[in-house]
């Protein structure tokens, strides 16, 4: 059985907080532990920040869209902005020595650290990022699947 809820949100920091809060609720409903709820909510927060700041550039005319879908074995969250598009392959590695002391550039790295699967899609105009966390999947399973 699948359960899907979606929202259209303004490009504001309040919306980022809203998306984070809803992610935490969705993760709790899906049966994730408190630690997992925290990590999922943080991943969504980072994706929402990217949508607002880098995608939509805080343009009040632009929205971003968040969908929370609970399937039998996973929580699937999709965040879509209306920006110029993102090339995830072009992002610098925040762990590289030359980037370690930079004040930004860690958002997508944290999303990847906290979710089981992360997918990007250029939706012209805009970027869709899909975050997947499997229910009951241990960290060791995640490593094996990589």
């Amino acid at each position: 059985m699948t359960n899907r809820v979606s929202y259209a949100l303004d490009s504001t920091l309040d919306s980022v907080n809203h998306a984070e809060s809803k992610a935490s609720e969705a993760a709790a409903r899906a049966g994730f532990s408190e630690d997992e709820q925290y990590n999922i909510a943080m991943a969504v927060r980072e994706a929402a920040i990217n949508a607002v700041l880098h995608g939509n550039a805080r343009d009040p005319q632009k929205k971003f869209f968040v969908a929370y879908e609970t399937t039998e074995d996973a929580l699937v969250i999709t965040i879509t902005d209306q920006g110029p598009g993102l090339d995830p392959g072009a992002l610098p590695d925040p762990l590289a020595p030359e980037n370690l002391m930079k004040s930004s550039g860690r958002g997508i790295f944290l999303i990847r650290a906290f979710m089981d699967e992360v997918r990007f899609r250029n939706v012209r105009p805009g970027t869709e990022i899909t975050l997947i966390k499997h229910v009951g999947r241990k960290a060791a399973d995640k490593e094996e699947s990589q």
Partner: protein, 114 residues
């Protein structure tokens, strides 16, 4: 929950007690302004007490890095005190745990500035 910061002087070290969330927006701004204000007053030994910081996002991490760099660039030192497990894990993941001097005991942390 918004972030709050209060300062106290202990043996020549400014201890900044932070509480709440260091996140994009108000939390990051409060931290930036607090450190900027201390540096403008010549206070360059800064211990950030994070015991009551419940949450840090990537923006907050960036602000900690910026604060550290600013203080070091002025010949001072900035250390972190009493990380929660979440914040500790975040600094481990981002490989910043070894960049910052992290302390668990305030008295020992104060001593380490000398």
């Amino acid at each position: 929950m918004t972030m709050k910061a209060s300062n106290r002087q202990v043996s020549g070290v400014t201890v900044v007690d932070l509480s709440g969330r260091i996140t994009l927006g108000e939390g990051s701004t409060v931290l930036r302004e607090t450190v900027k204000d201390l540096l403008s007053k010549g206070q360059r030994k800064i211990l950030l007490n994070l015991a009551d910081v419940t949450y840090i996002d990537s923006s907050g991490i960036g602000e900690l890095v910026s604060a550290f760099t600013s203080v070091r660039n002025q010949g001072g030192d900035l250390k972190l005190l009493k990380l929660t497990k979440k914040v500790h894990d975040l600094l481990q993941i981002t490989k910043l745990y070894t960049v910052f001097d992290v302390k668990d005991d305030e008295a020992g942390a104060i001593q380490s500035f000398k």
